[in-house]
């Protein structure tokens, strides 16, 4: 029986472990938020600087990319921390 096979597979395998435990996510969320704000602020400051366009663009892209990834991580961890599980 298909149901019985699935049920037995469920019972014969171990429980999943947390990718990142929920209890630790608020701390990681705050750290990621602060870091992302720092990187994005740095990127914006670079955009407003008087440097020539090519190095400015490269530095801005690098800082924006890191800041974006940190922002995404912060968004996920902070929303999990307040009970909105994504």
């Amino acid at each position: 029986m298909a149901y019985e096979n699935l049920y037995n597979e469920y019972n014969n395998n171990p429980e999943i472990e947390a990718f990142i435990p929920l209890a630790q996510q608020p701390r990681f969320g705050i750290i990621a938020t602060i870091l992302s704000l720092l990187f994005i602020s740095g990127a914006l400051m670079t955009a407003y600087s008087k440097k020539s366009i090519v190095p400015k663009f490269l530095i801005y892209t690098f800082l924006s990319a890191i800041g974006s990834i940190l922002f995404a991580i912060a968004a996920i961890f902070v929303s999990d921390s307040v009970g909105v599980y994504v």
């Binding site: 029986m1 298909a2 149901y3 019985e4 699935l6 049920y7 597979e9 469920y10 019972n11 014969n12 395998n13 171990p14 429980e15 999943i16 472990e17 947390a18 990718f19 990142i20 435990p21 929920l22 996510q25 994005i40 990127a43 914006l44 955009a47 407003y48 366009i53 400015k56 663009f57 801005y60 892209t61 924006s64 990319a65 800041g67 974006s68 990834i69 922002f71 995404a72 991580i73 968004a75 996920i76 929303s79 999990d80 009970g83 909105v84 599980y85 994504v86």
Partner: protein, 471 residues
Amino acid sequence: MLFTRFWFLTAIVTLIKFVVSEDDFIPPNSWENKEFKKTIEVSNSFTTENLELTIINIDSEPVTQYFLPIPTELLPKISMFTAAYMSEESFIQCMLVPGVHTLADGTQVSYGVIQFEAPVAPGEEIALLAKIHLAVTGTPFPEEIGMDDTQSLALEVNRYPISPYLSKTVSVDVAGAEDFIELTPAQSDDEAGILLTGQFKYGPFHNVPPFTSSWAKVSYPVDYPLITVTDLKRDIWISHWGHTAEFQEYYEIKNQGAKLKNGFSRVEFMKRVQRTEGKGGNFIGVLGLAMTENSTDPYVTDKVGKVSSVMREEDKLLLKPRFPVFGGWAYNFTVGWTNTLEDFLHTSNTEQDAFVIALPVLNGPPDTIYRNAEVSVILPEGAEVIDVGSPLPFANATVTREYSYFDLADGHAKLTFYYSNLISELGSGELVVKYKLNANSLYQKALYISYYVFGALMTVFVLINLNLNIK
């Protein structure tokens, strides 16, 4: 013990094909009922028929099927039909089949079939236990009562099991109430029921011809509400990032008990509660909602707002509705809670990045009939469904997409099972879903968010450095 713990491992009822044959169907006369004892349990809001059968193959050839008659009007109301050998702990396959036979008194009977794995040899005797759970209850009798009156229900039962085979010894008991009154007089003294302690007995009758039928109406007192969930929408959200399983249920419940004769008076009701210390009565004063074990963050809301008259008692919520729900009245509410994922989710050793989750079909109040239940399992975004299993027959199953917070790709895969005429006893059965979610799919959510933020920042860069001055 076998029935109560492992019923869901049987091949239970397959869906009846709702194409009733126009031809009159009578099963082959292959069996003789040496003993047929039927007990109709009315101690719950739903009805349970327990059958103890000793049968003999009187055919000249081996036989694999035994037909059990079921009134056609009750067929859609069957929640569970199982059978097992009395001598060993093993279940037998059961199914409902099309085919109708009309009796002399106008009763239409359809059939449940017990399908034996190995053919039963001519002359062989078998002892069976069969159980049929029906999502039906007696009707209030009288239909309206005063606030202080005790409710009675009337149930239509047959004095005989209406078997298509000759029965040497037959008895039908109605059990589960303090008192019984036979409302339909028997045509002979032999057929009249006998009141015993906690049960009402018809028979034993001897040498009963096939399809013998004699309907009776029996009333019994029931001093509690008849809770029916007319609609249930149950969503279970699975999150690998949050490592949680979030349950959310929307109930529309109705009390199918006797209605109030003189209308509702709050003063009379408060006097009654004070006099009886809140015990008894056919109204819903407090609703006990079972949750899963180790649940956290429970809440209850209704259309007005948050319901604060809720108390938690271990894994149960005791909800006091905004008003007592008397017979004929309805109430609706939403209840939710959260569990950690390890309570339900296991890894799979047959495929890489695959997981198997087992979730209870129902929680909710005990002793309840569910007319329509929609149970959805909402998997993480990026998950691919590999296989699903339901312990109960469902009317329909769909796979759709559901969008939620930060769903910037295809949304969540939502598996929905539609059930009808369930009883709360079947809620312990588990829906099993096997799905695949690899690391790329998991990180996809963070990447999509970062793409949009990065795109916005690059746009800002362009706008900052764009010089639109006219010189």
